[in-house]
Symmetry: none
Subunit: 197 residues, 4 copies
DNA sequence: AATGAATGAGACTTCATTCAT
DNA sequence: TATGAATGAAGTCTCATTCAT
């Protein structure tokens, strides 16, 4: 009974993620949310100032989990190429197996909510959230045969395809399989490296 | 005297695009929309059954313009590589110079509205909207040194990075320049082709 | 093409009767009404000041037809008893075979529309609409074994049962047959006459 | 302190009865209704799903009270004739002294609202609402000199005249007095019984 | 701390009526 | 005379938020 408060706040966050992802922010009344979380409507306001703040809190929560997962995917023994492929593979499978989180993030980023938070983006230049060992993958500080590219291009090349694929998969347009994931991750590496003639 | 305000239905569509892109679907009351279009509220309902239908109509409109632009970017004299680079370049500049359309499309796709329309996606396998000469770029029917890839991977590699970059640009995180656009487009081609040692 | 105007007004009246009876006054938009009548919306307003007046006009129309039918049911050769039975029989069959008129009248009488028109009631004491030969049946000026009754009671005893029965019939609660009609009409006569011990 | 305003749901029901009876369903906006009930608009929707359901709820309420009153009019010591007369007398006086209820019922029955509820009619064959001791009066299971009549005819003869009279009375066409009520109730009995020569 | 009844601003939509053609 | 596009007042209903218990 000690972590009572923490539990209640988590229940709310969980219900919110569920409802937001499934119905969109605007078809997720606080009342239904409270019901789903098993708490009173008023209680939500004890933990979150208002609905806006709740939305942002859900984002932080989901974002945090994603970052943690990415950091855990790091293996110092791998080459840069293998590490990149590993990270992308993990990313794709994670998002694919967490469809609520993915759907939430998409709605969040591309809605007015997300724009308020422009500067909170995961992939921003000196974003403290990026786990140290992965920084070089985010900002293009790789060596060897890797092209010198502006970092935004670098990020676009790495993360654009992965999210695009997961999107199609969750939309039901594609059935994901290992072959797709592998070939996509390898192609991303190819995009970064210099072609030899 | 009849031509000073285009079609009334177009005025509405235009105002809707504006408001939806700027404020999101749910902060765009029909009343404000009518005001911005310079028509009575009731008039909107003469042209569009309800708000939902208006949203979809705006999508069709924007989607159509985008498709037309892409088709116009085709030049039969170019090699596949150059044609791909040209198409991506046009796409990026178009989206960048039509921020309302881009913002609208993103909100639309990643909102419950867009999901209703899942199967209407621009990039779907036998989407009639894809202009004929560009089909090979959408579905990976390129030859030479191009990898055999599942088409969803193919599309992800081509369109993922471009939209990712435009997104960052319009979010104010990046200032787009020709160098970025060129290097991104070239890298996309590299992602598709076989590395030679 | 000569009676063009008359026709148009009648078309409107007819469509109005149809729609009012079927949907109720408030689910009968002028636009649908115009459409059903095959005229423009604006045209209705050339023949009727506004919707209210149209409703009243439909009433006059229906009321007129009913009165005419009743008058035609009079046969000077019959005894008072047989004449009453004949009149009630005709009334019941008429209403039953004109369900739209019946439903309209009921809605009209028991709605605010009808109350405005209180004094227009068919059965009012010196209502000019009551056909002369039938006045004695409406106001109790019958002789022989007929009770002396206040005229409102008189009317209630005659018309109350008939309308009640038709109501149930049109509501689908009862399937009308000749036996019912006959026994009801005879019972009405019995209600008016003195019981002998 | 809790008893000074009955149940909030009852306040709403009462205001609704008032407004519906006086103005008709369609001139009784939820806002005015809320105001009259002394509650916020939103509160109505806590107790009733929508306006339709409110209308039906008012009906149930009124119908219940009427049935209760009728049941209370039963006196086992009276002959069938006296009991019928007593019941009709009570009915007439009740309706006359509850004009709002009467006006509401009429509007309800003869409007699309009532038709939805066709089969809920008070006088339907095996309506559970009919109080047991009165069933024989509703369905014609009387003996002695009473005619064998189809039950719809039976009901029409009993209830048709009474409601007809009250209607005229409340419409201001007649001033009700005991003589009228008595003579009407007796005549109803006469309508049911066999004439002896 | 927790609750949920109460609230009312504001959203969407309908439809009687007008008026320029 | 006939039309129907245009209008906006008014109606129904939702839901974020408050506050007394």
């Amino acid at each position: 009974m000690e972590t009572h408060t923490k539990n209640k706040s988590d229940q709310i966050l969980k219900a919110a993620l569920h409802l937001f992802a499934e119905n969109g922010f605007h078809s997720a009344p606080m009342s239904r949310l409270a019901q789903m979380a098993g708490v009173g409507v008023g209680s939500i306001y004890r933990y979150f100032r208002d609905k806006n703040q709740l939305v942002h809190a859900v984002f932080e929560h989901v974002d945090q989990a994603l970052t943690t997962m990415l950091a855990a995917s790091f293996d110092p023994d791998l080459s840069d190429r293998d590490q990149l492929i590993r990270m992308l593979t993990h990313l794709i499978y994670y998002l694919h197996s967490h469809p609520r989180e993915f759907r939430f993030l998409e709605q969040y980023y591309y809605s007015p909510y997300g724009l308020e938070k422009k500067r909170g983006k995961l992939l921003q230049e000196n974003n403290q959230n990026v786990p140290e060992p992965l920084r070089k993958f985010f900002f293009g500080e790789l060596d060897g045969s890797v092209k010198k590219l502006p970092w935004p291009v670098y990020q676009a090349l790495i993360f654009g395809p992965a999210t695009f694929l997961v999107r199609d998969s969750l939309a039901g347009l594609v059935t994901l399989n290992d072959d797709m994931v592998q070939s996509l991750a390898r192609a991303c590496w190819d995009a970064l490296t210099i072609k030899e003639f």
